[in-house]
């Protein structure tokens, strides 16, 4: 294990860990978005409930869920550590700084955007993950996951909808920098691949959060049965 200790004790190793866990979380987003998008079949949540049932009971998915939480926690704690640590490297701040002249605001605000995402995530897990894993509401058949979504985002769920949309906006900006930054941290920067990474990253960062944001909006506005 000594060979991997650099992941925890060097600046480059820590960024390498951020990149690996980040790309892992990106693949999770893709699956999560794909499964949830089945609500747009507008079949009263039938397909979605079936997919949710499969994701909740399949042993492979359940095992990967453990990996997902390890990756997520690693990304969160390492990210917070870097944010705090990097912030101490310039004790005397500039009187006048022109950050926008050389970089984007969101690339300089990954710690803040990540923290907003974390706050959103706490609420999100409380809404759906805890209900489906730690209560018998869904397993006992009293309620379906789709029904749960309808309840959270329905007519009385304006605050939840607003929080979720803000969460998606944070996610979009976090990804706009994070997606391509992960490849740079892994040492992948080459004129032949850069355009693919850039355009793929841009598309992903806009489309995936947009689909996610459309879910609570569609439910709140009564566009889904």
């Amino acid at each position: 294990m000594k060979v991997l200790s650099f992941l925890f004790n060097s600046s480059i190793g820590r960024k390498f860990a951020m990149a690996l866990t980040g790309i892992f979380l990106i693949t999770f987003l893709l699956v999560h978005c794909g499964v949830n998008a089945t609500i747009f079949f507008n079949d009263g949540g039938e397909t979605f409930n079936e997919a949710a049932e499969f994701m909740g009971t399949n042993w492979l998915i359940r095992t990967m869920e453990i990996g997902l939480f390890i990756g997520l926690l690693w990304h969160i704690f390492q990210g917070l550590w870097l944010w705090q640590n990097n912030g101490m490297r310039r004790k005397q701040k500039y009187g006048k700084s022109a950050g926008n002249a050389n970089s984007t605001w969101y690339s300089r605000s990954m710690g803040l955007l990540g923290t907003l995402l974390l706050l959103f995530l706490v609420l999100h897990l409380k809404h759906f993950w805890i209900v489906s894993r730690f209560t018998d509401e869904i397993t006992s058949g009293q309620e379906t996951l789709y029904g749960e979504m309808m309840e959270v985002f329905g007519a009385d769920g304006l605050i939840s909808v607003v929080v979720y949309v803000l969460g998606c906006i944070s996610l979009s900006y976090h990804l706009l920098h994070g997606f391509q930054s992960a490849f740079q941290s892994l040492g992948i920067n080459h004129p032949a691949y850069n355009p693919i990474i850039k355009s793929l990253g841009f598309g992903f960062s806009i489309i995936v959060p947009l689909i996610f944001a459309a879910m609570p909006l569609a439910m709140h506005l009564g566009l889904l049965q």
Binding site: F6, G13, R89, A101, Q184, N189
Partner: protein
């Protein structure tokens, strides 16, 4: 006179490393053809005449190759123009009546010596840790005895143009030295002379960089955007790759 130009300078004054610094305002009569450092010479003449302490600032070659000049002008290292050092900046880049703020490089690893002059010996210690090649002494080797493809030589030269001024550190929100270290590691990793110490070098230089208190890289790209020699961000990717490879090999 038509060419006359009056500006207001807000300059950071700090007695020494430990002292509390503050901005002081000065009116300077200059002209558009003066370089930024010549304008400072005029200010210092003025201060000396008034019996005041002149502003300390670093400079040497005044032609953009030594890497000594180090001013953050209106929030940007080496001023508002891209691809030049402070000494290559001219007053024609500003307007008559402008207020210009001038600060030193700010990073814990670059302590202020006095006013605008900072101590960059942390860079020297990174180079001493591994930024060199070991060669036998004796007669100089014939220039063409080791063949290097033109493309490789060009890439190595692109990285070698780094003058070690520290603008990358001063521009980075984390005060990271990754562009500087990346340039040195890339240059030597590309050339046959750098192969013997390749893995040991990158590990030693990164260890020193971390020990000096520079931050980690957030890939914002600010360093490359402000680099007077336009060193590309790809040298940081190369540094990451070289470091990972060395670590995976148990170095």
């Amino acid at each position: 006179m038509e060419n006359e130009m009056k500006i207001k300078l807000k300059v950071w004054r700090q007695e020494n490393e430990k002292a509390q610094g503050k901005f002081e305002e000065y009116d300077v009569n200059t002209n558009p053809d003066m370089s930024f450092l010549e304008m400072f010479d005029v200010l210092n003449e003025q201060l000396i005449t008034e019996g005041k302490d002149p502003v300390a600032f670093d400079h040497d070659c005044r032609e953009g190759i030594c890497g000594m000049c180090s001013m953050v002008i209106d929030g940007r290292p080496h001023g508002p123009k891209g691809g030049i050092t402070t000494c290559q900046l001219h007053m024609r880049s500003f307007n008559n009546g402008d207020t210009i703020s001038v600060e030193p490089w700010r990073a814990n690893s670059f302590p202020v010596i006095k006013d605008l002059s900072v101590n960059r010996s942390s860079f020297d210690r990174i180079i001493a840790a591994g930024g060199f090649v070991s060669v036998n002494t004796g007669n100089a080797v014939d220039a063409n005895s080791i063949l290097i493809p033109k493309e490789t030589a060009d890439k190595a030269f692109e990285a070698a143009t780094c003058i070690g001024c520290g603008a990358c550190v001063s521009a980075c929100k984390n005060a990271s030295a990754m562009l500087f270290v990346g340039a040195k590691v890339t240059q030597l990793a590309l050339l046959p002379q750098g192969q013997a110490e390749r893995e040991a070098r990158v590990v030693a230089m990164v260890n020193q960089m971390d020990a000096e208190g520079f931050g980690a890289c957030s890939n914002t790209g600010a360093c490359a955007a402000e680099c007077p020699k336009e060193i590309p961000l790809s040298v940081i990717a190369t540094l990451n790759r070289e470091y990972m490879k060395a670590k995976m090999n148990g170095k």
